[in-house]
Amino acid sequence: MITVRSESFTYDDGVPLLSGVQLAVGAGEYVVVAGASGSGKTTLARLLAGLVGSDAGCRFRGSITLAGETVRFDGSPADPRIDRAAWSAAVAFVSQGAWGQLSMMSATVAEEIAFGPSNRGVPTEELRRSVHDVAASLRLTSLLGRDPRRLSGGQLQRTIIAAAVVQRPRVLVLDEPFHGLDEDSAAEVAAALDALRGAGTAVVVCDAMLPRSGPADARVLALAEGHPVFSGLLTEARWAGLRRYGIGTAGDPPGLPDGLGSRTGGLGSHPDDGEPTDHAGVRPQDSPTGAGAATPSPVVLTDVGFHHPTGAGESAPTSDTRSDSDTGPAGAGLSGITLTVRAGEIVAVRGPNGSGKTTLLQHLNGLHRADTGTVSVLGQQIRRQPTGTFAGDVGYLFQDTDQQLFERTVLREVAYGPLAAGVRRSEALRRAADALDVVGLGFVRELHPYELGFVQRRLVALASIIATGSTVWVLDEPTGGLDESARTGLARLLRRHARSGGAVVMATHDAAFATAVAHRTIWLDGGRLVPDDPGTDGRMDGRTVEAEPADRRRGLGWGHGRTAGEAQDSQDGRS
């Protein structure tokens, strides 16, 4: 069907990527291209999509064969230019970043799906027929009249897939299609891919992690730093030791426990370091604050109630990065939230979409102000002070970290936090450099933040918080889109921060991560605290959080996993 043979691929003056990589995709196949951040998987995806020679500053040597025709590239300006319109009729591509793939001129999902064929002059009746066909196969029919800018993450991703495949291509290439999606949305998207494959479309998924489940004949090509490190069946890939290349399996706990203390010099000094993580609920800080009652708890919420102002619901922060964040159009407020986070404690906030997790988090640094009740941070009650004045005490990591980056080098970016908190410039730069070393990004100090990959950009935002020296860390979906090593590194940093007397509150869908890292988990539903996970079948039986089946995290439900339909059933079944 399509074969890419890459001898080398170079961005600017960078090191060659994809040397000696070959990937052939046959009709109806399912192929996972797995690799950590910077491994070259996105580059490979773009080659498959025929996006070569179109970005200035790239040199590709190799060939691509599509349907028997071979196009050869020598990395010279005389290289052939691919006709993307013709190419996409055979190979559809869904890249990262949803907004860039919407034309923004469609008022409804149906028009957006019809955008491609209508550019080619397909008559209106035929247009409507093919849109309805593809919508039916991807379960989008009920959404056809909706505004594509107001969809949940999973719905938006399926809309973009539908717009890409409405011409019935034989191959669909997706770059991190599950990025930023919670488990139900990921299951929806997985079911959509399943349906396409059932209709004979080959599917290539590029991802940072291996899927927990997949079709029996799924193949894996694993990349590390631009080289192929594994090629074979998915079932074999799990046991091939890919973790050493930073390729984990979705839903696994972060690789924290064993040997942590011995490997990481600075972190190993604390007694509880080697302690097994699965004692989560009872573990560290048996004597929470050394100073006893003298120091107040860093975060105290007393009977907090909050309503989104009417009308603001629509404009509330939800849309970007396909977040299914809680403040959507129907975003819940909060009522009767009482919560104390002690020094040295890591608290996970979990609950279904729209349960108020982000709303709760944004009360901790003044982005939202409680209507009733009180919020105190480090003993200071949040009243009418400007939000910016809390930044020194509370470090907030947004779900979409890119909204924060504005400086032209990584170092200046990280130094902004301490500068804004009133630290002298030289001291701020020193702290920034230290923080970058802590997150392992010391070597990219002078680069532009946007020249880094997504994972590293998120670590830059984390380094900002570290450099500012905030006591309370508030993190919204911190593991979303991270690769194995960054996820593990994050777990380590959180525990280190807690041991040094800090407090961490994080909203997360990542069950395995919460289980391994948090001391306790609070559950939200409809803006209220509930005793235990309300969103899942079999969760009201009082089992502990630790017993969470790991494969709930990403329901890549081929064959035996949960499909969107089943997810729907289980939701209907609760109540």
């Binding site: 860039g100 001129m105 550019n119 939000t387 930044a391």
Partner: protein, 251 residues
Amino acid sequence: MPRRRTLNPLTELLGAVLLVVLVLVVNRWEFSLAVLLLVVVPAVLVSGQPRRIGVAIVLVAGPLLLSSVLLHGLFFPEGRVVLLDLGPARVTQEGLVFAALMGLRMSVFTGVLLTTAMTLDLPDLIATMTHRGWNRKLVFIIGSALGLLPHVALRARQITRAQQARGLVVGRGPLSRLRALLMVTTPLVIGLLVDASERNHMLEARGFSSSGPRTSYLPDTDTAAQRTGRRVATVAVLLFAAAWLVIGAVA
């Protein structure tokens, strides 16, 4: 409650523009007032959203009217009939008349265009442009810009919150404001450009560069009668304008 549509949005828009041209051509306060009272006010009332449109008109035109009255009412050196002498400022009859005439014209201008724009069915307008075979690049720019507007505004608000969470406190000084403006616009522009670069690839993959007419998913709400009507109305207004100006010059 949206009103029932009988006219295609393109017809509505052209009608509004021709009405404005007529007001400018005739240039009599009686005619402007008549249009305001007999066309604009009823149109706002039957629009189904009189409050929203009324507020918008007041917000847009109000400050202009007020500052216009202050400017011409107080400073009109050409004025001969002085009603009140305040030293450097003189309230003159001519100035007040000028301000009133200009104010009336601005009110009509705002009322007609804003009422039309705020009741316009934009998707239908874009679809009509496509069906009528307008340049696809122009239709894309218009449609995409209108679609991006709320998105840009929303993103700007989100970025402002994100920067506040990092310690941005907007002070009163111009430098502090400039700094805040940069802190918000820089990530905004970077994000939009990254999207645009991806959209560039998307447009090429979706065959946007192909020649030949585009089609639209939405049905064509335009009719042959309306097309003829638009042509006739345009020609009629142009002829009338020419005649009116010539007669005015001769007389």
